[in-house]
C-alpha cells in the first residue's frame, strides 16, 4: 500500500501536472465542449453503461473468488480519474472534454455508483466517502483553473507552466510504473491468472469499446480518442478508498487486489494507447503542399 507521505507527494505532483494542463486551456475550449454536449453524454453512457457491464461480464465469465469479483465490479463502476486527463493531453485529445467528463462522472458517481452496483450486485452496500470525491474534484479543478488564469495573465508564464507540467507528467507516469513493480513484486507473483486478466481487461476493453462506441456515434476522431481514454481510465484511488471505508481486515485486502493491479496496468496500457493515438493524430494532420507557407 501507499504511505501517507507518498500519497501527499503524488497529490502534489498531480496538482503541478494539472496546473500545466490547465495552462494549455482557454475558457473557449470548455465553451466549445459544452456547446455540443453530445460528446459529454456519450462519455457518460460509456462510463456508467459499458464499464460496469464489462466488469460484470469479466466477474461472471472468469472463475474468480467472490472477493475478487466484488473488486472487479467496484473498479469497473468508478468515475474517470485525473490520469485520464494527463494521457488525453499527451495523446493530443480534447483536454477540455476530458476534464469535463472527469468532473461530470465524478459528481454523477455519488448517485451512479450505488445505482449501478444495485443492478449488478444487489446485496452490495457500499460506503462512498464523500471527502474523496470532493478531494478528487478539488485536485482537478483548482489547478486547472489557476493554470488557465496564468495563461490569461501572460502567455509565456502559461506556456512555461505547461512545459514543466508535461515534463512532470512523463516523470509521474514513469514513477508510477517503476516504483510500483518492485514494491509489489511478491503480490504480483502470488496473484492468480484470472485476476490479471480481469485487471488488465477492464482498462483494455474500456478503451476499445469507448473508442468504437464514440466513433459509431460519429464523434470526431479526436473526441472519440478522448472518450476512449476517459472510459478506460478509472479512478483507482477512489476504489481503494471505498473498499477501505466499507470493508475491513482480510476481506479488504482480498478486495483491493483488482484495484491495485488495475492501477499498475492501466498506466502501461494507456501509455501504449497514447503512442497509437499520437500517431493517428499526426496522420490526420492536413498535408500541406510544398510551396509558399
Amino acid at each position: 500500500m501507499v504511505s501517507p507521505l507518498e500519497q501527499a507527494v503524488l497529490a502534489l505532483m498531480i496538482f503541478a501536472i494539472m496546473l500545466g494542463m490547465g495552462a494549455s486551456l482557454t475558457p473557449r475550449d470548455f465553451y466549445l465542449a459544452l456547446r455540443r454536449p453530445y460528446g459529454l453524454m456519450i462519455g457518460l453512457v460509456s462510463q456508467y453503461g459499458f464499464m460496469p457491464l464489462i466488469g460484470f461480464l469479466l466477474a461472471t465469465l472468469l472463475a474468480v473468488p467472490e472477493a475478487i469479483a466484488i473488486g472487479i465490479l467496484i473498479m469497473s463502476c468508478m468515475p474517470g480519474g485525473t490520469t485520464s486527463n494527463i494521457f488525453t493531453y499527451f495523446s493530443k485529445g480534447n483536454l477540455a472534454l476530458s476534464v469535463l467528463m472527469t468532473v461530470t462522472s465524478t459528481v454523477a458517481g455519488v448517485v451512479m455508483i450505488p445505482l449501478v452496483l444495485v443492478i449488478y450486485a444487489t446485496a452490495l452496500d457500499l460506503e462512498i466517502p464523500r471527502e474523496n470525491i470532493i478531494a478528487t474534484l478539488i485536485l482537478l479543478l483548482v489547478p486547472v483553473g489557476i493554470g488557465m488564469v496564468l495563461r490569461k495573465i501572460n502567455a509565456n508564464i502559461g506556456a512555461v507552466t505547461e512545459f514543466f507540467g508535461s515534463v512532470l507528467g512523463v516523470v509521474f507516469i514513469l514513477f508510477l510504473i517503476v516504483s510500483w513493480i518492485p514494491r509489489n513484486w511478491q503480490f504480483l507473483l502470488e496473484t492468480s491468472g484470472s485476476t490479471y486478466v480481469a485487471a488488465i481487461g477492464i482498462g483494455a476493453a474500456g478503451i476499445t469499446i469507448g473508442y468504437f462506441f464514440a466513433r459509431a456515434l460519429k464523434l470526431h476522431p479526436r473526441n472519440a480518442r478522448t472518450v476512449a481514454l476517459e472510459t478506460g481510465i478509472q479512478n483507482g484511488p477512489l476504489a481503494l478508498a471505498i473498499i477501505v471505508f466499507t470493508f475491513s481486515g482480510e476481506e479488504a485486502d482480498a478486495l483491493t487486489a483488482v484495484p491495485v493491479l488495475y492501477s499498475l496496468f492501466i498506466v502501461i496500457i494507456a501509455t501504449l494507447v497514447t503512442f497509437v493515438f499520437r500517431r493517428a493524430n499526426a496522420a490526420a494532420e492536413q498535408r500541406l503542399p510544398d510551396g509558399l507557407l
Binding site: 473557449r28 509565456n156 506556456a159 500541406l288 510551396g291
Partner: protein, 573 residues
C-alpha cells in the same frame, strides 16, 4: 476603351485614390525611424511559437536594435553602402531587426529561402556576392558547402527564440538541442546576433555615430533588395527593388485595405517574409500601419497556428490559397473563427473562388486578392471589395498602368489577348548584373510580365496563358531548366523535360518527362535524386517515363507539345 483611360478606377472603393502621389518617405530607413517615433513603446512585432511561447519588441526597440545592427555592419564588419547582405531565416524577431538594420546601413538586402539546399544557396551567393550573411542556426550547417570557393567574410548567426524572455528562450534552446536535435554546431567562424548588436551599440556610443547619416546618403532610387526569382536559363536572377519601389508598393497596397485603423490592429504573418509578398505587405505594410505583427516561424502543420489565434486578437492577416484553404479545413479554426478579424489579403498564387467563398462564410469577413510578380515589388492588381469577378485578377492598383501588348509593343484591341505589361512606381530597376535579361523584359518604359492576358471593357484583367516556361507552385517560381539540369546529372537519365501542369491545391505542379538510360530507373530514384539537390517545392510531383521526347528539327525539346498533350489529357478526364 484603352488602358490609358484607366477604366478600372471606376471600380475603386470610395476611399481609394486612383493616384497616391509621391513616396511618403525617401528611404526605408526614414520610414522605420518616422513610424517608430509615432508608435514608440507600442508592440511592433511578436514572435509566437507553436506552444504559445512568445517575445515582443516595441517600435522603439526594433528601431534601436536595427540601428545597432546597422552600425555593426558599417563600422565593425566594415561594409560600405551598396554591399549586399544575405538574410536567410524564417519569421522571427531577428528578421525585422536584421532586415531594417541592413536597409538603414544603406546596404542591399538579399532574401534567401532558408529551406534551400546548399547548392541552391551557392548559386545565389555566387551571383549576389554578399559581404555578410545573417542565418538561422538550424540552417547554418549548409554554409560551409554553400560558400566553398567564394567565402562570405561575415557570418551572423541567430536562433528561432532570439529576443524572447530568458526562460522560454532557454527552454526552446534545450528542446531544440536535445529533443529535436534540429540545431547542429555551427562550423564556420561567426558571431551571434545579440553579440553583433552589443558590438554595434558599443561602437555607436563610443564614436557618437549618427545612423541617419547612412540612409540619408542614399536616395530613393538606390537598390534596397535583391529579390531572387530564379532564371529562365537556370541561373539565379536577382530583381533590383529600390527603396522607392518598395515604399510605393507598400503604400499602394495599404491604399486598398478597408476598415483598419492606424495603431490599433493586430496582424498575423504566417507567410515567410523572405518572400516578396510578405516582405512588402506584412513586414513594411503592417509596420507602417502601427500594427502589432504576430510572426509565425513555421506554420506547418497548421495546428501550430492555434495558439496565435487564441492568444492574440488577430484583426488582419495575409495568406496564400493554401493557407486559407487549410484553415477552413481545421476543426479548431471553423469551431471558433477569429471574431476580431476585419480583413484578409491573399497573394502569391490565385485564390480559388471556392476557397474565398468558404473563408468569407466561416469568418464573415472578406479576403482581397492581389496579383503581381517579384519584379513589381510585387503587387500590380487587386480585386475591388464587393466587385469581384471570379476568374480575373481584378484591376490595377492605384498609380499603376497595365496593358496587353502585341509582339511589337503596341496595345492590342480591348478583349484581345496580349502580353500583360506594367508601368508604375513599383517596377524594378532591372536584374542584378544581367543587362541582357533586363532588356528582354523592359521595353519602352513597360515591364513585360510574361503572362498573356485579356482586358475587358471595365479594365478587369484575366490571365489566359504564360509566355515563359516558368511554373508557379503555390507562390514560388520554378524554372524548368534548373530542374532539367538537375535531372540530367543523374547517370541513369538520358534526357528530360519539365513542365507545369494544373493542380487543384497548388495551382500548378512540376511534372518531369524522363528518358531513362538505365531501364531499372524508378520514379522514386528520380525524386530521391532531386531531393538531394533541390528544395521541396521544386521536386517533380509527377514523373513520366518516355522512350523519346518531342523535338524541333534543330533538336530542341518542345515543352509546349508536352504541355498541350498534358492539357488535352486532363480535359479528356
Amino acid at each position: 476603351m484603352t488602358s490609358a483611360e484607366r477604366p478600372w478606377t471606376a471600380f475603386y472603393g470610395a476611399d481609394v485614390r486612383p493616384d497616391i502621389g509621391d513616396p511618403p518617405y525617401r528611404t526605408i530607413g526614414d520610414l522605420i525611424r518616422s513610424v517608430s517615433e509615432t508608435y514608440g513603446k507600442a508592440p511592433a512585432f511578436t514572435a509566437c511559437l507553436p506552444n504559445g511561447m512568445n517575445g515582443t519588441l516595441s517600435f522603439t526597440q526594433v528601431d534601436q536594435m536595427s540601428d545597432s545592427f546597422a552600425v555593426y555592419l558599417r563600422e565593425v564588419a566594415g561594409l560600405t553602402q551598396g554591399d549586399r547582405v544575405a538574410l536567410q531565416m524564417p519569421n522571427g524577431l531577428a528578421f525585422p531587426v536584421a532586415a531594417f538594420g541592413i536597409l538603414k546601413a544603406g546596404c542591399v538586402l538579399v532574401n534567401i529561402n532558408p529551406l534551400y539546399t546548399a547548392e541552391e544557396m551557392s548559386k545565389q551567393f555566387v551571383d549576389a556576392e554578399p559581404h555578410a550573411l545573417v542565418i538561422l542556426d538550424m540552417f547554418a550547417d549548409k554554409v560551409p558547402q554553400a560558400t566553398r570557393g567564394h567565402p562570405i567574410p561575415n557570418i551572423i548567426v541567430t536562433r528561432i527564440a532570439e529576443f524572447l524572455p530568458a526562460l522560454p528562450r532557454g527552454i526552446v534552446g534545450l528542446v531544440q538541442k536535445y529533443w529535436d536535435q534540429s540545431v547542429k554546431p555551427v562550423e564556420v567562424p561567426h558571431i551571434r546576433l545579440p553579440d553583433a548588436l552589443a558590438a554595434g551599440r558599443a561602437h555607436q556610443q563610443a564614436e557618437k555615430i549618427e545612423v541617419d547619416a547612412y540612409h540619408q546618403s542614399i536616395g530613393p532610387d538606390d537598390v534596397a533588395c535583391l529579390q531572387y526569382t530564379g532564371g529562365t536559363t537556370g541561373v539565379a536572377k536577382g530583381a533590383m527593388l529600390t527603396h522607392s519601389n518598395l515604399i510605393m508598393n507598400m503604400s499602394q497596397s495599404m491604399e486598398l485595405i478597408s476598415g483598419l485603423k492606424k495603431g490599433e490592429e493586430v496582424a498575423l504573418t504566417a507567410l515567410p517574409m523572405y518572400h516578396i509578398f510578405a516582405f512588402t505587405v506584412n513586414l513594411l505594410g503592417f509596420y507602417w500601419l502601427g500594427a502589432r505583427n504576430v510572426l509565425i516561424p513555421n506554420p506547418r502543420p497548421l495546428s501550430t497556428l492555434k495558439r496565435a489565434f487564441e492568444n492574440y486578437k488577430i484583426t488582419w492577416m495575409s495568406g496564400v490559397n493554401t493557407l486559407f484553404n487549410g484553415l477552413t479545413n481545421e476543426l479548431w479554426f471553423t469551431d471558433s473563427p477569429p471574431k476580431h478579424l476585419k480583413f484578409a489579403s491573399a497573394g502569391g498564387m490565385a485564390l480559388q473562388s471556392l476557397v474565398a467563398a468558404r473563408w468569407e462564410e466561416i469568418t464573415g469577413k472578406p479576403v482581397v486578392q492581389g496579383y503581381g510578380l517579384t519584379e513589381t515589388s510585387p503587387v500590380l492588381t487587386f480585386e475591388p471589395l464587393g466587385k469581384k469577378r471570379p476568374g480575373t485578377i481584378g484591376v490595377p492598383i492605384p498609380s499603376t498602368l497595365l496593358a496587353c501588348l502585341d509582339e511589337e509593343g503596341r496595345e492590342v484591341a480591348q478583349g484581345q489577348p496580349g502580353e500583360i505589361a506594367a508601368k508604375g512606381p513599383q517596377v524594378m530597376a532591372g536584374y542584378w548584373n544581367k543587362p541582357d535579361e533586363t532588356a528582354k523584359v523592359m521595353k519602352d518604359g513597360w515591364f513585360l510580365t510574361g503572362d498573356i492576358g485579356v482586358m475587358d471593357a471595365d479594365g478587369y484583367f484575366t490571365i489566359v496563358d504564360r509566355k515563359k516556361d516558368m511554373v508557379v507552385v503555390s507562390g514560388f517560381n520554378v524554372y524548368p531548366n534548373e530542374i532539367e539540369d538537375c535531372l540530367t546529372t543523374h547517370p541513369g537519365i538520358l534526357e528530360s523535360a519539365v513542365i507545369g501542369v494544373p493542380d487543384a491545391s497548388t495551382g500548378e505542379v512540376v511534372k518531369a518527362f524522363v528518358v531513362a538510360r538505365d531501364p531499372s530507373l524508378t520514379e522514386a530514384d528520380v525524386r530521391a535524386h532531386c531531393k538531394a539537390h533541390l528544395t521541396a517545392y521544386k521536386i517533380p510531383k509527377r514523373v513520366e517515363f518516355r522512350t523519346e521526347l518531342p523535338k524541333s528539327n534543330v533538336g530542341k525539346i518542345l515543352r509546349k507539345d508536352l504541355r498541350a498533350e498534358e492539357l488535352a489529357q486532363q480535359a479528356a478526364e
